[in-house]
Each structure stands twice: as C-alpha cells, then as structure tokens.
Amino acid sequence: MSAPTKDLILRHGNASRVTHWAVAIVFTFLFLSGLALFHPFFYWLAYVFGGGALMRFIHPLAGAALVVLFYPYALSHIRDNRWLPADGKWVGHMFAYMRMEHPDVGETGKYNAGQKLMYWSMIPIIAVLAVTGLMLWQPWFAPAFSAGARRAAGLVHAACAFVMFVGIGVHVYAAIWTKGSIDAMIRGTVTRAWAKFHHPGWYREVAGKDGR
C-alpha cells in the first residue's frame, strides 16, 4: 500500500487496529486450545501449546484477557453499530448481497447490518463464555460451584464457543471476500472509491469533514 495520499481515508485508527489484532490472536489461541479439549481429534493442538496441563492453565487466562480487551473495544465502537431502520433492509437483501447482485440496500454507514449483527452477537456470547468459563476455572473459581452447575456450564461453554466459531468464521471470510478490508485493518486506510462503494453513508460523513 502506498503512503497515505488524498485518495486514502482513515477507517481504523491505530488503537483500534492494535486491539483488533490482539483480540484476534487471543481468540485464535482460545479457539484452538478449546478445540483440543472439545474433541480428542484435535488433542494434538495441546502439544502445540506446550502440553495439555500448560494449555489448560493458559486457556482461562487468555479468556480473561479477551474480556479485558474486547469489551472496552466494543464500547468504543458502539456508536457506529447502533441498529438503524435501514439495517433491516440490508438483512432482507443479505443473500442477494452475498450473490453479488448488488441489491439496493440503502445508504450503508460505517458498518453494514451484517457487521452489526456480528458486533451485537459477540457481546452476549463472549459474556456467556466468560461466566461459564469462570465456573469451570480450576483451581480458583470452579470449587465454588456444584458439580451439576459445572456440567451445565461445560455444555453451555462448548455450545457458545461453537456459535462463536461460526460467527468469527463468517467474519473472517467476509474480510477475505471483500477486497480492501484486510488492508484497512492492517494499515488503517481505504480508498475513497472503496468507502463510497461499500459504506456510502460513512463516506459522506468523512468526506464532509474533509470539506470535499
């Protein structure tokens, strides 16, 4: 990517990008280590992370790190993720959008409805994962909960991790599919044409600020 020019617009600030990738790394570790505990087919991953006992020790610490990183990050993006009436229209045309039929989805703001759905689904899912994870966290917190409560926590934790994987899988694929968005998350900038095409509402806002 060339140096910032007049053609480039800042989409993700420095702090936002660093936090995003920190969350991504922590999530990847959590997911892979959780997968090792979820099904023995993936137990080899335990050896990638220093053996089962060490991995089991780090997993909840990484979970705590995710909570600490994710929620302030989510809070700082709440304004752009407010659900607007126009978002319903996007959802209605979601499959046409995915088939690249370029349906009229109204004026998309900084985030489209798909991104907002991701945002609003991750907030409760990570909360449930954190609470159930705490209930299973040996040796410090789990002893406070009954065996029955921990069995239920284990089931809910696994189910939510599964939903989270599917959600994050869609998120990652959407980024690969939509050219320019990974660059945006690495270097922070997008072209004017990209902004205008994908997020015209947001473009109008920032272009207005630029005085153009």
Partner: protein, 292 residues
C-alpha cells in the same frame, strides 16, 4: 491376572477402539456396613499401602477424621449421625470411589488416557496425563475425585489396582478386622451380599438393601446398607446418574456434529469464493479517485 495395557477396555477421550481380545474377571469390593465397627483400619491401610499422609487437622466434634476426602485421603469413614426411632445411629459410610461401570469421570475427561477402565471393572487415574481441568469432579455423581492443591492433578481410590493386578486384595480389605470388607469376583460379592441381607432381615432390618446403582451401570464397590430404603442418610445419592447434561456435553455424536459443522463453514467459504469471487469495487466506480 496382572493388569496390563491389553486390559484397558476404556479410556478418556479415546478416538478408536481399545483392547478387547481378553476379559479379566470382573471384581468387586463388598462393604457390609452392618459389620463395620468404625475402627478406621481401612483408612490407615490405604495411607500405608499408597504411602499417603494427609495433614493433621483438628478435632471438630465428630468421629470423621480427616474432615473430607483429599488428594492424600482416598477413603474416609464418615460417621453420619442419624436419629432412627428416637435413637442416635451411626450410619457409617466408607466413602471413596465406587468404580462405576459407566464412569462419569471418564466420560467428562478431555485428556486422552488420563482415566482408564480395566476389564475387571477398576477405574484408574493416570495422573501423568491429567491436565488439571477438574471435569472428572464435575462428572462424578458421588463427589469423589479431588484436585490436589500441590500439583492440580486429580486423585481418588485406585481399588489398589497395583495389588489386584498381582492377585492381592485391596489394602483396606486386607486390614478389616470384622469382615465388613470383602473382595472377590463381582458375582461372588453379590451372592455374599444376598446372604448378608438375609441375616440382616432376620435381625429386624427389613429394609436392608444392596447398593449397586444401575444409573451408573452398577459399581465395582457394592454396599450392604442396613437402612437400604434411605441411602441418603448414609450420604449416598438414591439414584445416581451419569446424567443428560454430561451425556450431551461429552456426546461423541454431538461433538462430531459440531466439528463437522465448523468444517462445513470453512468449506462454504471456499465454495462461495470459487463461485462468486471477491467483492471488489467495480472499475467504473473507481474513476479518477484511485484504485480500489
């Protein structure tokens, strides 16, 4: 009948078949509570044979000592004080692993080979494989395994698998002075238990019963309870179950379906990209404003 790797008929987090070419004799320990005098010789013998020393605690007004099972105390005489017909009774429970035929601990354990089940029925922990997650303590319907504060590994009664493997009875059985404990084939122990029940009924314990709970597939530690209608009074669950929640959580089918769905998401992404290609800003949109 030395226990060998070929006698491991089940193990935690297994992905394939386990050795099944030979079947050793299913064994059982019979605990006849009516004969127990509460001498705790079994507790001492367990410490002695397994070379365990629990911390010396304080007397809290009960005969039960130490206060609970631990990584150092794999069996414990619990002196339940229960009033029956206006009289105080000691309903003594020799607490410890019951060696379930369908063990919840093994089902819950995510570490391959950390919990094994021998064809003679003994459920054993291999602590070197234990990762300290404590799922066994969540899976056990009897609240038996304990995580050590020293090493975060789970411990419980082994039914002296090392002794049984070389043809000896468990240390606790060896030490019992009143034959409240017996050891042999499960069939023989159930037969013996029936005789004990007859005796008890003659002595007026009309509700005496054998505790070999079917909810966990039966156990390889069988108890004769003089007050068989009230297992809870001894601190035993009336109807212990592996349970639906644990079965669903650790279900091979549900987890395989979960993994398959996650793979399907990856495949769907690849197929979508192959069919539709990347979403790019159309050239006519870029105009003079630069590349997309």
């Amino acid at each position: 009948m030395p226990l060998q790797s070929l006698d491991v008929i089940n193990q935690s987090a297994k992905t394939g078949p386990t050795p099944s070419v030979r079947q050793t004799l299913p064994v059982a320990k019979l605990i006849d509570i009516s004969r127990c005098i509460g001498c705790k010789a079994c507790q001492s013998a367990c410490m002695e044979w397994n070379d365990l020393r629990d911390e010396v605690g304080v007397q809290e007004g009960f005969y039960t000592s130490p206060p609970d099972l631990s990584d150092q105390s794999w069996t414990l005489m619990r002196f339940n004080e229960v009033e029956i017909d206006g009289k105080l009774n000691w309903l003594i429970l020799k607490d410890g692993c019951l060696h379930c035929a369908d063990p919840g601990c093994l089902k819950a354990c995510p570490a391959p080979g950390a919990i094994v089940q021998y064809s003679n029925g003994i459920v054993d922990f291999h602590e070197e494989q234990c990762i300290g997650c404590g799922y066994c303590t969540a899976g056990c319907p009897f609240h038996i395994p304990r995580l050590s504060k020293k090493d975060s590994k789970a411990y419980k009664c082994t039914l002296c698998s090392d002794r049984v493997g070389v043809g000896l009875e468990p240390a606790c059985v060896k030490s019992c002075p009143t034959q409240a404990l017996s050891f042999g084939s499960k069939e023989d122990m159930l037969f013996q238990a029936e005789h004990r029940l007859e005796d008890l009924r003659e002595r007026g314990f009309t509700k005496a019963a054998v505790y070999d709970p079917k909810g966990v597939g039966g156990t390889h530690v069988v108890l004769v309870l003089p007050h068989g209608d009230r297992p809870e009074a001894y601190g035993l669950p009336a109807d212990p179950q592996v349970g639906r929640v644990l079965s669903l959580w650790r279900s091979g089918l549900a987890r395989a379906a979960g993994v398959a769905t996650m793979f399907a998401v990856l495949v769907a992404g690849v197929l979508h990209y192959m069919r539709h290609g990347p979403l790019e800003v159309p050239p006519e949109e870029t105009g003079k404003e630069g590349r997309p």
